[in-house]
Subunit: 484 residues, 2 copies
């Protein structure tokens, strides 16, 4: 369900500085110079041990549809910068013609690894910066949050219900997709269902129950949705009224050969109501009915509920997931790493007073090292793009922050290239996997990581090493700057 028309208006989905730089490059006759940019983030969100890369589908749709409309051109003509006419002709003819490499959607990723590498003319790589960052930052953030919730929820069904709290319409559908990719089971968002084929679930609101006598309102709903009767039992009083009324209607449904699915509790003490509510349902012979909890849930609260012995069958998660409430920004960046001059790649670096903000220079390759004996990943390995790794040679992987500590030397290992070529000279090279396939890929990858990287509190730090050549290139460039 991808309509190119959705992207017709995305020419100016860009920061003004990008247009101004594209124009300046064009005016200086440098617009065609080829540059390489890396897209990466510096810290895992939520103090998690990893991120989950998501957003590529959106990026591919955007890049393959990107044009500047006459409306865009007319608007640019009003700007104070006073661009020359020839620049508008360049924009009118614009199609993305660069190369893009990216990690697969659903991959486990880590700080300072290249999630995407973009190679193209200055004019092009400048213009697409904010769009790429906006898409990847948001979807990776939500996917990672959802993965944390999936990790602690283990077997329970997880429903994404954040449409009304997500930051506007686009975030609601792409967030629903990200959550499904990393392990949620369904969404309440019908448009996300339509666009992406995500299963949708929904029951009733307090307004339905308030509209009349609670028992009558339950009856009406059950009469219409006999096989999808999931009463919301907390409108007035869960234990004195909601669940007793739900039981009455469930018994009536039984008489008609149907079964109540679940009762939903959306407020109040979720543990107390669970224990008492579960007992009431069981005593009434409704052991088959599930229970759904919702209302400001997140991974911490789920752990706490389970720790108390509470066993909801399903969790409905809204605000805390769909806004990434405890850290609503990933902070991914897009940095110039190399310039092509006469067919040779010249690395570039961004120095900063903050050491962690110093970029890693160079046109790179990015690998994941799979240890055959254990069936687990030993770490990631980043090289310059033209280095060759010989898997028969020993390899040393370091902790990224304390290179002296936790050194790992895998013996029998496989080298998995992480960056897939997606576009070559603007031509899309591969068909992206279906959402179901990406979801499955994500789930299977999880089995290849040691559990210490996956826990939601105090995870171990995964090894990400630079090759000796890349490491010394970086150190040399830093030293050159210091020596000036």
């Amino acid at each position: 369900m991808f309509h190119v028309s959705e992207y017709e208006d995305f020419g100016l989905h860009a920061d003004k500085y990008a247009i101004n730089m594209a124009y300046a490059a064009w005016k200086m006759r440098e617009g065609d110079q080829i540059r390489a940019f890396d897209l990466y983030y510096r810290h895992n969100p939520f103090q998690n041990g990893y991120g989950v890369f998501i957003g590529l589908e959106r990026v591919v749709r955007y890049l393959s549809s990107l044009t500047f409309s006459e409306e865009d051109i007319a608007y640019l003509k009003e700007q104070e910068e006073g661009y020359e006419a020839g620049f508008y002709d360049v924009l009118r003819a614009f199609r993305f013609t660069g190369d893009v490499y990216a990690v697969k959607e659903g991959s486990y990723v880590f700080p300072n690894v290249p999630l995407m590498k973009v190679i193209g003319s200055k004019l092009q790589v400048y213009l697409i910066e904010a769009a790429l960052l906006g898409f990847i930052n948001f979807q990776t953030l939500i996917g990672t949050k959802a993965a944390r919730i999936r990790h602690v929820a283990q077997t329970e069904t997880l429903l994404e219900m954040g449409l009304r709290r997500a930051h506007e319409a686009d975030a609601s559908i792409w967030g629903a997709r990200a959550a499904y990719l990393t392990g949620f089971d369904a969404t309440s968002n019908m448009r996300a269902g339509k666009w992406f084929g995500i299963p949708t679930k929904g029951t009733m609101s307090h307004a339905w129950v308030q509209d009349g006598d609670e028992l009558e309102q339950f009856r009406k709903y059950a009469q219409v949705h006999r096989d999808n009767f999931t009463p919301l039992v907390d409108t007035y009083d869960t234990l004195r009224s909601g669940i007793p009324n739900a039981i009455i209607v469930a018994k009536e449904l039984e008489g008609l050969g149907h079964r109540m699915k679940d009762v939903r509790i959306d407020s109040g003490d979720l543990a107390y109501q669970y224990f008492n509510g579960r007992a009431m349902l069981d005593d009434a012979g409704l052991g088959y009915s599930g229970m759904i909890a919702s209302g400001d849930l997140d991974e911490q609260l789920i752990v706490s509920l389970k720790n108390q012995g509470v066993k909801y069958d399903k969790f409905g998660i809204g605000t805390k997931l769909s806004t990434a409430y405890d850290q609503p920004s990933l902070g991914g960046v897009y940095k110039l790493v190399a310039k092509e001059e006469d067919g040779v790649w010249i690395p570039t670096i961004k120095i900063s007073g903050t050491p962690e903000k110093v970029s890693t220079p160079g046109n790179k390759a990015y690998y994941r090292i799979f240890e055959k004996e254990t069936g687990k990943y030993a770490g990631d390995y980043i090289t310059l793009h033209d280095e060759i790794i010989d898997p028969s040679e020993p390899l040393t992987l370091y902790d990224p922050q304390h290179t002296f500590a936790k050194v790992m030397k895998p013996h029998h290992y496989e080298v998995q290239p992480m960056l897939q070529p997606i576009f070559k000279s603007g031509q899309q090279l591969i068909t992206l996997p279906s959402l179901t396939d990406s979801r499955q890929y994500h789930a299977q990858e999880k089995l290849k990581f040691w559990s210490e990287y996956l826990r939601t509190i105090n995870p171990a730090r995964y090894r990400v090493s630079l090759s000796d050549k890349l490491y010394s290139t970086k150190q040399k460039m830093i030293q050159e700057r210091v020596d000036r």
Copy 2:
């Protein structure tokens, strides 16, 4: 720049429970029953003293364009609920035919006041819930955050630069609009500029500077953008390299009859770099050049910088504003408040174990009380919709949480109706004001509030009173529930 086509796909921008309830109501032949819903929030965000209502423009565009496409219908047919064919015909013919009342965009608003009142058939009022909440929750949140930043920044120019961190594309443009409405001066987001006429600003990125020798890169930029030269001076070393190079180019520009506009510092110690950078510019005779600070700024950091005597001319604000970082959700709700039966409005209530979650029943009117002597607002006053206020009679306004405390009895006062009729039977009654007018309205309203409500830390609580009749209706309904 409002294209109806943008909304063609918004039929299913809804939660599944809404569709299921609309279907159940239709099936029970209750779909045409008329209901009233209030949209409100329970707590000011960011521990602020007020919210700024924004989102109405988006709601009006949505409601006036809302239809269900054949694609939507086809998708609904796949759902497990098995809707009857007649329901699809209802959706095919769907146009919004309800009444909508709303506070003006840019208004100062408070917890538990009706920001919007929607009256319509059950089928209609159910279907639009999540869309309305999503739009209002987000835009009100960002507008309120921006108002806080404007309040502490006072005279400095404020630039919204959050495109790459906003939660996807829609949030970036509607967030830019909200920030402009409550006092930001410009955005970096070109699409937001095109859509809404917001002034746009942009300079250069680190990538531009890294691309070669810093001085040469500044020169190139200045050569093209002579009157818009705003060098980013922190790529390598602000004080040893960035500002000295900026000064060289500024002097060259002076020779050509142009002036450097600003230097921008995006990282590091913003106070230390200000003091030294300012002195260097002044010593070089560039007192006319401004300075821009950016990099994870928010209202707290701005207050701290000013407290240190730092005097940047402009602040560029991204992540902390555009994601509402410290509280990324407003938590607005949409609650059934009254049912129409034989032309009479019957109030409904939602009870909750959490006292603050008990809704205020009834089809209401909402007023702001303007005290003539002081030229300030004394408080807000909510009544049942058919009550009449006689401004020659004394009025008592209470603190909303401690009704015994801070009682206020304005003598000479004006009663300003807060809820404007926007739609009547689906017909739009008024043309919404331009963004510039709403921005001006917001700025002027600020003068009518005592400063104790406006400060960003520990603001006083503004009075919001229920009329005696409304208050006793609510208490009676709560008591009836307790007595069951």
